[in-house]
Symmetry: C2
Subunit: 116 residues, 2 copies
């Protein structure tokens, strides 16, 4: 068993996404075999690219206000909201407020996901 505050994990910049950082909090660092729980912080005015990939996201919002953009439009998100993005679904997470948008984003391990 491992227990630690999420801030004990180093925050890394996200390549190509100024104003956003990521912590690979619970994953290969602790020997997890199947998926990784990451903590994302998106500063006001920042957003992930509108993009797609063959793996899903399970997201739980901790702090801040944002919008999720998909092919169906924009959906507001805030604290304690759950978001599910399916494999191959286009999506973007954007900060829509004045404070940091902080959320957990869990993804599976797979051959296409060797990072960390």
């Amino acid at each position: 068993m491992k227990a630690f505050h999420y801030t004990e994990i180093d925050a890394q910049p996200v390549e190509g996404v100024p104003g956003t950082n990521i912590r690979w909090a619970i994953g290969k660092n602790v020997g997890a075999p199947n998926f990784v729980t990451r903590v994302l912080e998106v500063q006001p005015g920042s957003a992930s690219p509108y993009h797609t990939h063959p793996w899903e996201h399970e997201v739980f919002v901790l702090d801040g206000e944002g919008v999720v953009k998909t092919a169906d439009g924009e959906t507001p998100i805030g604290p304690r909201m759950c978001v599910y993005v399916a494999p191959d679904e286009e999506h973007q997470f954007a900060n829509a407020g004045d404070e940091v948008l902080r959320f957990l984003c869990i993804i599976p391990f797979a051959p296409w996901s060797t990072e960390e």
Copy 2:
């Protein structure tokens, strides 16, 4: 994409564990293929059984104060802490405070985990 507040998912009692409920928040209900994000609420004085199973837990604490008991002893946990419990590792989550202990607990889907 699906977005909803976690309280929109019904809280279910946990069989054999009075004072604890669970929401299967992001999983087969939204078509997720690999793992499920659950929200657990443990009332003051309540605890999960000291038990083991062949799948891991990735846990993120939202509210309250607790302890995780393993074969190595007891470890305090609180808000924004991460916990990793390995497959087949004995463990127990107990509320150690006066408020609800609320945490996310993510587990993989597998043949032995057909629930929900």
